[in-house]
Amino acid sequence: MIENYAILPCNGLDKCAGAISREIAIKLCENAKNEIICPVFYRVAEAKYNKIAGEHPLLVIDGCQTRCASKLAAEKNLKVSKKITITEEAKTHNVELKSNLRLLKNENALIEIILNGLNSAEEKAASSSDKTNASYNFEYETYQKDKFLFRVPKNPEIYFNENDCWAYVIGNRARIGVTDFVQQNLSDILYYTPPEIGAENDQFGEVGEIESSKSVIDIISPVSGKVVSINETLIEKPELINENPYELGWIAELELTDFESDKELLVGFDKYLEIMKKKLEDLNA
């Protein structure tokens, strides 16, 4: 259950998704000990909320992709522990949002689905002990371009896609993450949105999101499979992806479903190094 969180909703009053964000925040506070940060009042009188924000993990509820609540959190230097976007949730659950500002049957059904999802994800995360005992030892080759260093792991068990994500495959499991190319391009990573534990994922599906002050990117999974664990440390310390995106900054572990087929569209160390060098040349050009 979502409890002891500070909740920063979008509260947009001119869109249905904003009205839904607000309602979810209210319900989370009615059902458990959570506290709302009013985004409007926070802008003009931050003292009231700084204490709440500093003492509790923060759940940000964005209405639409303009992500006003996320931007406010970034502006106030708040660490975001959890983040949802109502328009994305509506898409996932096949609910069409219209222009009504009053909450009707459809919207209330979506609110229930989102609340259940939030609470059960929290329970799964709390009880998740399904971590692999496999040990991951990385051997790197380093490539320098101007002042930037790029490590590329050369273990034969590691596969890459052309979207700059890697998978370290041991048995029927893979640990996945992004490469140095991604973290160097994004520069300081501020947020990590993990995939949901238990989610079934296709090859090239999105397994979370990382966001820096420069940009936001989807993590595009090299392999298909079920998410069995996530790197929870990144929620509090997403900067570990900058530090080392292969070891401390890994993203998630998946139980593989069709690795033989996935392999067709993956490359090994030699080829990925070549691809990355070309991308760096193109960037410079």
């Binding site: 992709q65 296709d202 090239f204 999101e209 990117i217 989807d218 569209l265 050009a285």
Partner: protein, 96 residues
Amino acid sequence: MSETTFMGVERDKIDWNPTIDYTKCDFCIECTKFCPHQVFEVRKTENIKLIVKNPNNCVVFCRACSKICGPDALSFPDKNATTQRIKEIRKEENND
């Protein structure tokens, strides 16, 4: 800068780039500011102020611009269908 191949397949054989829904787009051009690959072009003096100028510059499987689009005006082809098509093209080319 355009990448010429993706997984060994010529980029222009892969149908992957954003479609703009002009009934939703409010020409805020956040996508243009966001995308580092010059996929979009702004045409200030014309009625339709935003177009997909360089579809082949779009990174296959990247949908990041649609994530930052406030009015939700950008959509992409089906990912699984695209994956399948890439595999088919690779097979066809290996058989040639």
